[in-house]
Amino acid sequence: MTFGMTAEILARIQFAFTISFHFIFPAFSIGTASYLAVLNALWLWKRDVAYLKLFEYWKTIFAITFGMGVVSGIVMSYQFGTNWSVFSDRAGAVIGPLMGYEVLTAFFLEAGFLGIALFGRKRVGDGLHMFAVAAVAVGTLISATWITSANSWMHTPAGYGIDANGNFFPEDWWAIIFNPSFPYRMTHTILAAFLTTAFAVGAVGAWHLLRDRSNRQAQIMFSMAMWMAAIVTPMQILVGDMHGINTLEHQPAKIAAMEGHYETHTDGAPLIIFGIPDDEAEKTHFAIEIPKLGSLILTHELDGTVRGLKEWAREDRPPALIPFFTFRIMVGLGLLMFATGLWSLWARWRRNLFTNTWLHRAALVMGPSGFVAVLAGWYTTEVGRQPYTVYGLMRTADSLSPVDAPAVGASLVAFIIVYFLVFGAGVFYLLRLMRRVPVMEEDHELDKGPHRAAGITPGPAQEEPIREGHSSGN
């Protein structure tokens, strides 16, 4: 089962496939965990059952997403060793501790308090339950911080030395963690996760508003989601711009690939809106260009110099086609998100946020936009990093395990079958849960679950009278 490909290509496909599936779950659950914390806090503060109902509604969806994130994440933590053992051996002393800290400070925190957050409200009382929900949310953010730090180090390595065997060793942990691209990448990634959740929540709210515009829960989630869209999208565009400038400084070849520039422009590079980059011909075909705009965006000067791919030897260049298109998909979706946010502000001002059917349809269509944008952005940065795993220092081809192509091919096929089966079913169940109307009644057949896993007779904290709508709290 090699499909005529080398072990290296198969291992890269396997990594891309497994991490793509993995990434969409945390991208959603990072935002959802924070959303749940906000909903629970609002319920405790205002004692409005609508917030409790929303918390319970999204909690079930979060539990499934988080579960899929956990099991697909365990795969990632072992794949470095199975498929990229030379990388693990050579860079493990630097990158391993970052992941070790992720496990120690984030994974255990999330997993330890998840049970209480999901099933424990009546056992521990409102205060400790809120603490558990917040701990899960904080855990997801800590996790995102460490893993983007590790990833950023591979893009912009710093604070390291290389010993006689060619192994990386740490010299300055502060420089390693806060490597040059880390602050930008971390902010960009976390905001992307928030936007992913915002547009998913907004789409669910819109879907239910299209059916019943008086549904209060749907109104609340739609309104909250649209505030996020209106406020966070401009922030994200700003951070994205700064991230791009940082990349131009540290990985100019990646920028050249993203922009489809083969030639260096010293008197102002055009912005190529569309084209088809061709690495063989070293030319972007059918280019539609706006003069000088490329330099203006990247260097904030009309005549700023933008280097083209021809400045690097062929074997040191990233392939241009994928970053070129995925970058445009990401930016295009970002602009659509921005437009949706503006539209919602306009609708809010005109007081038709909950009755504007066209806005609801647009928000529904935008539901998956965050997931697509996150993946597109990820492909842009990771393919643009090629042909290196540790940028400029260690090549992807030199990172591979001494594995045979058939072994990698067979495991790749197994991963593809299992992931489509399992996560396909999971996404189906998620969509079915999102289709449930967020109402006050608690007679949803599918609302049952491994709730409040039982134990001893509830203590005093759990014996307080069940509030209206509270009995569905599980």
């Binding site: 795969v75 051996d89 391993g96 994974f107 209480i116 001494p402 057949e445 679950g449 896993a453």
Partner: protein
């Protein structure tokens, strides 16, 4: 035995692996026992008893893997390719097992398929972990910091034996957990299963113990020569104590004692392995010293581990405390 950073880290990694084995051991064991509890309400009770804690239990596996990459990168980079297929199969099995907790509630028509997934996933994960252990005990071929053996080296009569032993051991832990968490008919059956798997487990521990000294001369010397023979004599003695405690607890309606005794069996078997391995981390190929990352890496992560691992143990204990006591059949599904 010098107390230096690599030794401390070997102890921490060993602790993480042991924590994983006993904690995920009992919840994988509950899955392994699914065929003996065919009723829906029984399975609901079983999965509900582990739903709040399984994720935390599995995180120790990530610490074992991630930690290994950080502090013994060459071990991570050689053992995982050597155990390529068992590891991949284990990961896929854990996927089926992990998603089943939620998925089996999200559908009525296909629920029993996810129950199959839960059972097969749990069993296969345990079996592959046992195979990995057996293959490691047999030793893996390493040259120039790379694995140089073949793709089927892990498969041998001995590794199959250890695979079976781990599945039986997990089933014992799972049965003792059910004895602890349930009452009535389920508890009765769990107790019978615990007796049978307990006897099998002791037999398998004996078989593996008698076999392994002949795999590698080092093990033989370790077990039968002074001063380590002093320790290796204690292990069987304490195993016998645990076995008696297990049997006594199961026959006299004790609820916690059998679970603790089964944990004791695992801890002692693990200590036995530790005695066999030391000072190697990959038997016969890599010692703890030569496999360690630079001290700066070990120190950096040790600071975090020294603070975080006690904290983790504290809040994990708290989570178990919150969900303590017997399962209420009325509470779990309504």
């Amino acid at each position: 035995m010098a107390i230096d950073l690599p030794t401390i880290w070997a102890a921490i990694i060993a602790f993480a692996v042991l924590a994983y084995v006993v904690l995920d051991g009992f919840d994988l064991g509950v899955g392994i026992l699914f065929p003996f509890f065919p009723q829906r309400h029984e399975r609901d009770l079983m999965t509900n008893s582990i739903a709040p804690v399984w994720d935390g239990n599995e995180t120790w596996l990530v610490l074992g893997g991630g930690g290994l990459m950080a502090v013994f990168p060459v071990v991570y980079a050689t053992v995982l390719p050597a155990l390529y297929m068992p590891i991949i199969v284990m990961l896929l099995a854990l996927i089926f097992r992990g998603v089943a907790f939620e998925f089996r509630w999200r559908t009525q028509r296909a629920s029993h398929y996810w129950d199959y997934g839960f059972w097969i996933g749990s069993t296969l994960a345990g079996f592959m972990q046992g195979i990995a252990l057996g293959a490691l005990v047999e030793g893996i071929e390493i040259a120039d910091r790379q694995y140089v053996g073949g793709w089927w080296d892990w498969l041998s009569p001995f590794s199959i034996l250890t695979g079976v032993a781990v599945v039986i051991g997990y089933a014992l832990l799972g049965a003792c957990w059910l004895n602890l968490k349930t009452l009535g008919d389920i508890q009765q059956r769990a107790r019978r299963i615990a007796m049978i798997t307990g006897v099998l487990m002791l037999g398998l521990i004996g078989a593996v113990s008698l076999w392994s000294p002949f795999i590698n001369q080092v093990y033989f010397e370790r077990w039968f020569s002074w001063p380590t023979a002093f320790f290796s004599a204690f292990v069987p003695l304490l195993l016998a104590v645990c076995a008696v405690a297990l049997w006594h607890g199961l026959t006299t309606d004790k609820h916690l004692q059998p679970f603790l005794a089964a944990l004791g069996l695992f801890v002692l078997s693990f200590v036995g392995l530790g005695i066999s391995f030391y000072p190697y981390i990959v038997p016969g190929s890599l010692t703890i010293e030569e496999a360690a990352a630079p001290d700066s890496s070990l120190m950096f992560l040790l600071v975090g581990a020294a603070v975080m691992i006690p904290t983790i143990l504290a809040y994990t204990a708290y989570a178990y405390w919150v969900f303590r006591g017997k399962m209420d059949p009325e509470e779990g599904y309504h």
